[in-house]
Each structure stands twice: as C-alpha cells, then as structure tokens.
Point group: C2
Chain length 321, copies 2
C-alpha cells in the first residue's frame, strides 16, 4: 500500500478526535472548494449518456486549451491504474522523488521501474514519467524541455495534477502528439476530490485504448454536472489562482516564524524542512491539524493551505505554541 | 461499441425532443429511486478514507447476507472491465444471450469467447459467465446448480445485477469460495445508476487482485454516503421489491392488451415478443417512450417499468393508440 495524504483514519487512531475536529492539511486539495451546484435528479438516476460525457470532454478541452483527444476518468488515479495496459510490461523511469502510485502500479503490473533524479536520465526510456509541477517538492519543468524529451522516449507521461495554478507550465495545449500522455486532476484545484474526476489527454490511439479499458460509464453523473459547471467558470478559477498564490505566501511566513525552511511547493501545498518532521507533525496534531511526512526524508513536512480564517488562526496558534 | 439501453441520445436523434420529454424505459433502472439524502460537504471535498470505504463494504455485506471479501466498484461494469486482469488470456464461455459487455471486454483483452445456450455447456470452461436472473430474458438459475458448476470450471462469474428483487436466487451468502466471483449492481434496484456503484464478492485472492487494479479510491464520496444509507434501509428495499412485483404484473397486462407476449423478465424489466419489435419501438417513441431492441431478435422488445402514475398513463395511452 502506498502512503497517501488525506487519510485522517491514521491521524485519529494516533491522536484521537472526530473527523470534524481535524483540519486536514495532509493533502494538496483546495480547502475552499468550488461551490457544488444543486444537482438534478436526472444525474443521480440515469446512466451518463455519450452526449453528456462528450459535453464534459468539451468543457475540459476549453479549460485546458486543447482540441486533442481526451478522456474523463474517475480521478487522475484511475488513469494511472490503466497506464500498464497501454503496452506490454517493459521498463519505466520515473523522475523522483514523486507521487508514489506510478511506481507501485507499474511494478504491480510487472514493469521494471527505475527512479531517476535528473530529467536527462529519462531519455531513452520506454516509458518516462514526470510530475509537473512535482509533488511533493514543487519542482517545475520547462514545457519546451518536456516536449523535446517526448521525442526521445517511447512514451512520456506528464502528470499535471497540480498545474491548474501554473497554466504556463502545462503541455496540454500540445496534447495529441503520439507518445505524449498528460494527466489532469479535477479534485485538487477545485477542492472536490470526493467526486473522483480527472482527465487524460493524448494521441488518438492511446485515448481510444484507455477509453476501452474504462468502459462506457467512466465517471458519475454528478462528476459530469459539477465538472462541466466548474471547468467553464473562468472567473472562479482566476480568483482562486490569485487567492492560492497569496495564501501560499502567507503560509510560508507562518512557517518561517516556526523556524521551518521552504523546500519548494505549488500554490496548493508547501514542502518545508522542519528539522525534525515527526516532532513538527506531532506539534500540529495536538492542535488537530494533520500534515504529511515522507519516508526517507525525516526533516520534510508538507502542508496544504488552510481554508477559512478560523483554520488560519488555529494553525497560527499551533505554530506559536 | 456494445449496444446499451439508457442512451437517450439515439432516441432523440431519431425522434427529437428534449431529454426531459422522454420516459426512458430502455433500461432496467428503477424509475422511483431511493431518495438521495442531503450530502455532507465532506464527501464532496475529501478523498474517501479507508475507514469510509470499509464502512460501505460492511453495509453491502449486511445487504447481501455475507461476510466474504468484497470490493466496491464504480458500477458492476467497472468489475467487468477488470475481469480480464484476473488471469492471462484464455478461453471463456458465456451463457447467452446476455449482457453484451462480458464478451466485448474479454475479446478486447485477447480472450477466446464462446457463447453457449445451455448451462451444462459451461462445465470445463476456464472462465464461465452466468447472469442470474438473466438480462434480457429473465432466465433464472438455481443457486445450488451454480454452486455445483463453480467446482467444474476454472472461475465462475455470477452477475447478480438484477437479483435484488429475487434474493432467493443469490449465491452471495456463499461468496468467498475460491473460483466464485459475484457481481452486484447498486444503481439498478436503487434507481441511482448515475452514482456508479457496484460490488464484487469473491475469494480473498481475487478480491485483493481487483482491489489492487482499482486503486485506493475506487468509488466517490457520494457513492459511499448514499450507498451506505440505502443498503441499510431494509424497509425501503422490502417495499420496493413488493411494488416492483405488482408493477411488473401491471406492465404485463398492458402489454397483453397490445398483443405482446411475455418472453421473460425480472421485476425491473420485461421482455416481450411484440411481433415486429421495430414497429413497436416506433409506436412508443412517437409518444416519447424509449424501449430496447436486440440485434438478431427482431420480435423482441424490452421495457423497464414506468415510475409515477403519469408515466403509466402515458404508456397506456401510447399502447391504446
């Protein structure tokens, strides 16, 4: 089992409390979500139709500035689960450290997986994986460099799960080239991880293969209705981008007062060198604020951004203690 | 692409009208759905936790009278999509005619698929598939015969997507034996196909393999919250079973006045010999009532049950015309 943020069960079993007592900053999920519209009973009742799914695809193409083949999936994770089905097991290189599920899923499907720490070391790989901007350290990769890399590997997967706040980093506008697959998450930026929605963009053959693997009803009616409304709402997205940028700076200031050093991050999460990560996590956990640690990196602590002012005050108080 | 009911796009492109104008009887989805409770913002926002998913599993075990290993999936269809991953491609036999996705998915994954018309012909198969009660003809198989068959095949899949109204047919209470996999649909009986929820029950190794293939968040927060409430609501289920039985008899009477002969069915759908199926479909479609035809069976017409009294009156009027 891969270690994930967002599992409050672990926090509660160690430190007690009810779910509602906790501020979960262990993920990069926006805590001020897109307001869920009143849902029609139709979307609960009926199977999503082809036309409805296609209208969600159109909304995603508009949001991601592409006309390329694209498929809605039950979260970016669902696309990761299907990656091994695009080719017979071979060898993959993953720019690391990064999101643990790529290596886990590929190894489970019989792939030989190599973690590399330099993007140049990906060249020549049968399957190369880059998360941009990267989770957990926020490392950014130049889109031009990635497009060049795509021509030097069998297949390049660019996971843009945290790219909504930095659209200038996205290669989605260049989607459609053979050998380039792009993953997008809906739940993180829109703060609606529970609806399970993401997208994969790519060449026609890859998207057709993934569509066949995911079947006729890959996402729920609620995901279609909410996703369509949110992806067309440019004003909410613009305001949220600006708010997250401001709030990330505010979190960095708070962290500085606690003596933590910024390692990197995106406007949805910040990675700090907290000296003793475990100690820092326990200090926050006593105030029912949950954070994320990383195996093999004992000084690291990752924090999502608090939502409303009450949450900011609770975090400030916990850090001042 | 497999032909499915529930795709009103086709009806509209042929006969016009807005989705709300149509009564969709082309599926076996209950048109008087379980009332969706007010959903907590938590379930939209957060990733489903292990404890939440496990609590849904418990609700399903209670509803299906089993303590066996079980996995929530994004509809029974999601389990079908993963079937080919349980074993290297081999040969499968499907008791036919039945739901088209089994053959489609297995062939797509490189399996040799044989349609057989007699349950005895399944014995000796590497993978055998039975839908009980069957869609579209409602054929029923004795649970004891299925359990005996399970010992004579490599793996037996029993799709109980329409078994909620005939719990006496279910082998779910015997789930857990190696080589027996049982699929359950949530959306049909509860009338909530849009939330994408189903379950697969089986031996420990198979369920673990399917869990690995579906990843850490196989269903949405809404599916967890609604599914848990509905599966524990025995009184709604009992009343709905009785109502569907009464309504199925009412539909048969209506069909008889139209000169159609009952071929078979379940309390969620009825299959009629309408003489000329296409003509019967067009007659209903002019009244904006959508039905299901079957390739190679030109006299067959399948109808789900109307929901409220207005829908019954519209159907009666269309048949009297």
């Amino acid at each position: 089992m891969v270690d994930h943020g967002g599992n409050l069960d672990v926090a509660r079993s160690r430190f007690g409390g009810e779910p509602a007592d906790w501020i979960d900053l262990s993920t990069g999920i926006n805590r001020l979500p897109y307001p869920v519209p009143q849902l029609s009973t139709h979307h609960w009742h009926a199977l999503p139709s082809r036309a409805e799914i296609e209208s969600l695809h159109e909304a995603a193409r508009a949001a991601y500035h592409t006309t390329a083949p694209l498929l809605a999936t039950a979260g970016a994770q669902a696309a990761i689960q299907m990656l091994p089905r695009l080719a017979p097991p071979g060898s993959a290189r993953i720019l690391s450290p990064t999101y643990g599920e790529f290596g886990h899923v590929l190894r489970g499907a019989g792939w030989a997986v190599e973690a590399v720490s330099d993007i140049e070391a990906l060249a020549g790989a049968g399957l190369a994986i880059v998360v941009n901007p990267n989770n957990p350290d926020g490392q950014r990769h130049d889109p031009e460099a990635l497009l060049a890399l795509a021509t030097r590997v069998g297949r390049l997967v660019v996971d843009e799960s945290f790219a909504d706040t930095t659209p200038e980093l996205s290669v989605a506008p260049q989607a459609g080239r053979a050998g380039l697959l792009i993953l997008r998450s809906f739940g993180k930026f829109y703060g609606l991880a529970g609806i399970r929605l993401g997208f994969v963009l790519g060449g026609e053959a890859d998207i057709a293969a993934l569509a066949a693997a995911s079947g006729p009803w890959p996402v729920s009616g609620a995901a279609i209705e909410i996703g369509r409304a949110a992806l067309y709402d440019r004003s909410w997205a613009d305001q949220t981008r600006m708010r997250l940028l401001r709030d990330a700076a505010r979190l960095d200031e708070l962290a500085q007062t606690a003596g933590w050093k910024l390692v990197g991050g995106t406007p949805l999460f910040r990675l700090y060198d907290a000296g003793d990560g475990l100690l820092a996590q326990e200090r926050l956990a006593r105030a029912r604020i949950w954070s994320r640690l990383f195996k093999g990196r004992p000084s690291w602590l990752r924090l999502g951004l608090p939502g409303d002012e009450t949450e900011w005050q609770r975090l400030a108080a916990a850090l001042a203690r």
